[in-house]
Amino acid sequence: MAAQGRTTVRERASVAGRVVLAAGGGYGVAALATALLSLTLPMARSEAVATATLLSFAVMAGIVVLVFSTRTLLRALLTVGGAALVLGALLWLAMGGSRP
């Protein structure tokens, strides 16, 4: 906070890190979730894609809020990274399963 007077370099770096994590991680997780749901939701293909795409922005907003409210940057990084890994693995399975 600028109005708060002294801001340490460490705090600034933490904020910058969160911004990068929120933007990149948020979009990444939302994109993975969209792709995964598009392939796995039990409905017609176009419906699955439409549903997943409609939800994706709520997912992204949720991740951003999470990143900025988590106590430490490391914990936020682990949470988002973990979510991305799990989603990525499931997506890999889903895509492998879709190819005979």
Partner: protein, 537 residues
């Protein structure tokens, strides 16, 4: 963040709001104006009010003239778009793209002769509409910037809601006589909270209108990136047909227009001719939306060579696809009649006010104490606040003014109108950097007021059959000018407030004990700001 959830959200709200505030303000203003895009376009092309609307029976012949023109001037284009004459826009509106990177072609034709329409060269309301989501940048860049801002707006809304302790009480809280910052905070809360459903709806649905552009990964995964296949499977468009790469003459479109008109009650809005001159040419007739929330145009696809009907698209969307189109429909508000449209417009204005009060609040919360020098960032924010909140309305007024005052035969007139818009905006953004903050506010608000009056004066002077001159004529001009007068009065009032505003009040408030911490929306547990009062912004 080493703080509570509410505190971290307050921080997020403050900074995300500031960073995109000015762009968001521009998006909100131009978007709000776009609720009246057809009216603005018509006002900016006064020649149209003197043209008799085209009879529906003559549409086929008009379409033939359009095709003849396109065959001559756009033979290589892959798709022709033909806007058919409407009651409020009695011309053929032709548009074509040859290949990516080349500027698209665009021309208005007289539907009765096929010659270029005698109408002033202007983008009309379309400029404001496109600015709303492309910011007059290359579309790809503009859309991403707007999408980013919209996403941050969504986050700012969510964090703003979390920041509120007593959101219901804030509906009814406006303390205009308290310390100025408190009034601004209340104004920010009232405009934000009262229209909150609208703000949430408009932000999310705004992102959804370009959803497959921002988030194409579902289409990538399930359709190997073939968006057209997705759109047609979702029943949004007729099935696309690839070119056969064999030449064949296009069948006359007149009979197709007749068949399309006979098939449906809605007025025919436009034709889309894909791969003209190819054996697989397709003519798609697109109708106006039937009444309802959902944004879906009924469509009929014809084989361009045989003239036979290939496919009829008429509703029957599955739930998720329907949700999509309803969200788009909600955003665009085509369904809204005059009163509901006015409500949308007022909600949009409240959005503008919410963003404006928000960025002003940021600078008020950081005013230097007596004897302190304002830091550079504060000075910049203050100047940008004036430059956007008063500067953009001034630029829009200058845009309207240019439409009336530029010579009709000026080459590239359309571009000059836009240059006038940006020229005015740049001046309005630079002047406050050199002026004392309060005087800058005062001067620019007054300037907007004068410019709005000038628009009315120019309208009266240049439109010979203005209803206020003859008592006849199109009432649109009277309505438009009335809106301008209202805006002029509003900005004049704001300028007067700024002039008469008593600075000592703030000092009195500061001299007294710190303002009550129990105020709604102030976050009591926040770390002390530079000033003793609790700060929300």
């Amino acid at each position: 963040m080493k703080a509570s959830f509410r505190q971290s959200m307050a921080w997020l709200h403050t900074w995300s709001g500031l960073i995109v505030g000015w762009v968001l303000f521009a998006i909100f203003v131009t978007g709000t104006a776009s609720y009246y895009r057809p009216d603005i376009s018509r006002w900016m092309r006064p020649e149209f009010t003197q043209v008799e609307p085209v009879d529906a029976a003559a549409l086929g012949a008009a379409a033939e003239r359009a095709v003849a023109h396109l065959g001559q001037h756009a033979a290589k284009a892959r798709t022709w778009f033909i806007g058919l004459p409407q009651a409020d826009k009695p011309v053929l509106d032709l548009f074509w793209r040859t290949r990516p990177g080349e500027p698209p072609g665009h021309v208005l034709l007289d539907p009765r002769t096929g010659a270029e329409a005698a109408v002033r060269d202007t983008q009309g309301g379309d400029f404001l509409y496109r600015f709303h989501f492309e910011l007059h940048m290359p579309p790809l860049w503009g859309r991403w910037v707007v999408g980013l801002c919209a996403m941050i707006m969504l986050v700012a809304l969510i964090s703003g809601i979390v920041t509120h302790k007593r959101i219901f009480a804030d509906f009814f809280t406006f303390r205009r006589d308290k310390a100025p910052r408190r009034s601004w905070l209340d104004a920010h809360n009232v405009t934000g909270v009262l229209a909150l459903p609208f703000h949430l709806m408009i932000t999310y649905t705004g992102i959804v209108t370009l959803a497959t552009f921002y988030m194409p990964w579902g289409v990538t995964a399930a359709y190997k990136g073939n968006a057209q296949a997705f759109f047609s499977e979702a029943s949004w468009i007729t099935t696309p047909r690839p070119p056969a790469n064999r030449p064949a003459a296009l069948a006359p479109v007149g009979p197709m227009v007749e068949r399309a008109r006979a098939a449906r009650p809605e007025p025919l809005e436009r034709l889309m001719i894909v791969n003209p001159g190819d054996a697989n040419a397709t003519v798609v007739a697109v109708f106006e939306e039937p009444h309802g929330l959902s944004h879906e145009h009924p469509q009929i696809a014809f084989d361009g060579v045989s003239g036979e009907i290939l496919e009829v698209r008429d509703g029957g969307l599955k739930p998720a696809a329907k949700t999509f189109t309803v969200m788009t429909g909600l955003h665009e508000g085509h369904f809204a009649g005059p009163l509901l449209r006015l409500l949308f417009f007022l909600c949009g204005l409240m959005g503008c006010a919410m963003v404006a009060t928000g960025v002003v609040l940021w600078s008020l919360a950081r005013l230097p104490k007596a004897g302190e020098r304002p830091f550079l960032g504060l000075r910049l924010v203050q100047a940008l606040n004036v430059g956007s909140i008063a500067g953009l309305p001034a630029a829009v007024a200058v845009y309207f003014l240019a439409n009336r005052l530029l010579p009709l035969d000026l080459a590239g007139r359309e571009q000059w109108e836009i240059r006038a818009f940006f020229g005015a905006w740049i001046v309005a953004a630079l002047v406050p950097l050199a002026r004392p903050q309060r005087r800058a506010w005062c001067e620019e608000l007054a300037a907007v007021s004068v410019l709005c009056l000038a628009v009315v004066a120019a309208d009266l002077l240049t439109i010979p059959d203005h209803p206020l001159r003859l008592g006849g004529g199109d009432p649109l001009f009277a309505w438009f000018d009335a809106a301008m007068l209202l805006l002029a009065a509003l900005f004049a009032l704001a300028a007067r407030k700024m002039l008469r505003y008593e600075a000592p009040k703030r000092d009195r408030a500061r001299g007294a004990k710190p303002a009550p911490v129990t105020a709604p929306a102030a976050s009591p547990a926040r770390p002390p700001a530079r000033r003793p009062e609790p700060t929300h912004a």
